[in-house]
């Protein structure tokens, strides 16, 4: 369990760092921004889950991930909007935008679950 956590931490950390480094190498910020939404955590997590839980489990996780990308898109849009407000610290706007992600990712899931769509 502890070893798995360490592997998870190291793999996820390394992938996130690597993608951020690639992003930093580009001067055009809209282009480097692509790498801020790279699937680094997903690659690490799905890769480890594939070895441990199998393809069906990974397929389920990836399917749900596709739905949550709508929330991620809304989150990044909210960040871009709030970051334009001069008096607002960028970190605070990004933190407040988490509410958008949580509402759009977990809200529809909770409704679907209540409706019995997940058994």
């Amino acid at each position: 369990m502890v070893v798995e956590m360490i592997v998870r931490f190291a793999l996820g950390g390394a992938l996130v760092w690597l993608f951020s480094l690639i992003g930093e190498a580009f001067e055009t910020k809209t282009f480097s921004g692509l790498f801020g939404a790279a699937p680094s955590v997903a690659i690490a997590t799905l890769g480890l889950a594939l070895g441990k839980k199998g393809a069906e489990y990974v397929g389920t996780e990836a399917r749900m991930m596709a739905f949550a990308c709508v929330a991620l898109f809304a989150y990044t849009s909210a960040c871009a909007l709030i970051a334009q407000k001069k008096g607002m610290p960028v970190w605070l706007g990004a933190a407040l935008s988490y509410a958008v992600w949580l509402a759009l990712a977990l809200g529809p899931y909770a409704i679907a679950r209540k409706a019995g769509l997940f058994g």
């Binding site: 998870r8 931490f9 793999l11 996820g12 950390g13 390394a14 996130v16 760092w17 951020s20 480094l21 930093e24 190498a25 580009f26 001067e27 055009t28 910020k29 809209t30 282009f31 692509l34 801020g36 939404a37 790279a38 699937p39 955590v41 997903a42 690659i43 997590t45 799905l46 890769g47 594939l50 839980k53 397929g59 389920t60 990836a62 399917r63 749900m64 991930m65 596709a66 739905f67 949550a68 990308c69 929330a71 991620l72 898109f73 989150y75 990044t76 849009s77 960040c79 871009a80 970051a83 960028v90 970190w91 990004a94 933190a95 935008s97 992600w101 990712a105 977990l106 899931y109 997940f118």
Partner: protein
């Protein structure tokens, strides 16, 4: 405006900023694993599209290059987020047949979709200041 590679950009970040990204990424990956362990692959899958590094990334861009560049960075991340859905759907389509190779293919598909999306949105006009 075409994307420009400027390797000196890599020297902008201090050692602790690199460490911050690594630690953030590591913690979110551990967190995503714990969520899946506790609540199963449905909720766990949702957290694979959690905006893990973006707040730190935007804060650092604002610090190095100013507010307007942070806005541009967030706009670019929107395209990366849309491409992430293509990544996930590629995994869904291929993982049963190709196993680990599906993740590698999906990674390449994400990159291709991101770059294509960027060129469609920003490739022709001067919407990006830098």
């Amino acid at each position: 405006m075409m994307p420009k590679v400027k390797l000196w950009g890599l020297t902008k970040s201090k050692w602790w900023e690199h460490l911050l990204r690594f630690v953030f990424g590591g913690l979110v990956t551990v967190g995503a694993g714990l969520v899946a362990q506790k609540w199963g692959p449905h909720v766990g899958g949702l957290f694979l599209a959690f905006p893990s590094i973006l707040p730190a990334s935007l804060t650092l861009v604002k610090r190095h290059d100013g507010r307007s560049q942070a806005v541009h960075d967030a706009r670019g991340a929107r395209i990366g987020a849309a491409a992430m859905a293509v990544f996930a759907l590629t995994v869904v389509a291929l993982v049963g047949r190709s196993g680990g190779l599906a993740l590698a293919i999906a990674g390449v598909v994400w990159l291709a979709a991101s770059v294509l999306g960027w060129f469609l949105v920003y490739g022709r006009g001067p919407r990006d200041a830098a």
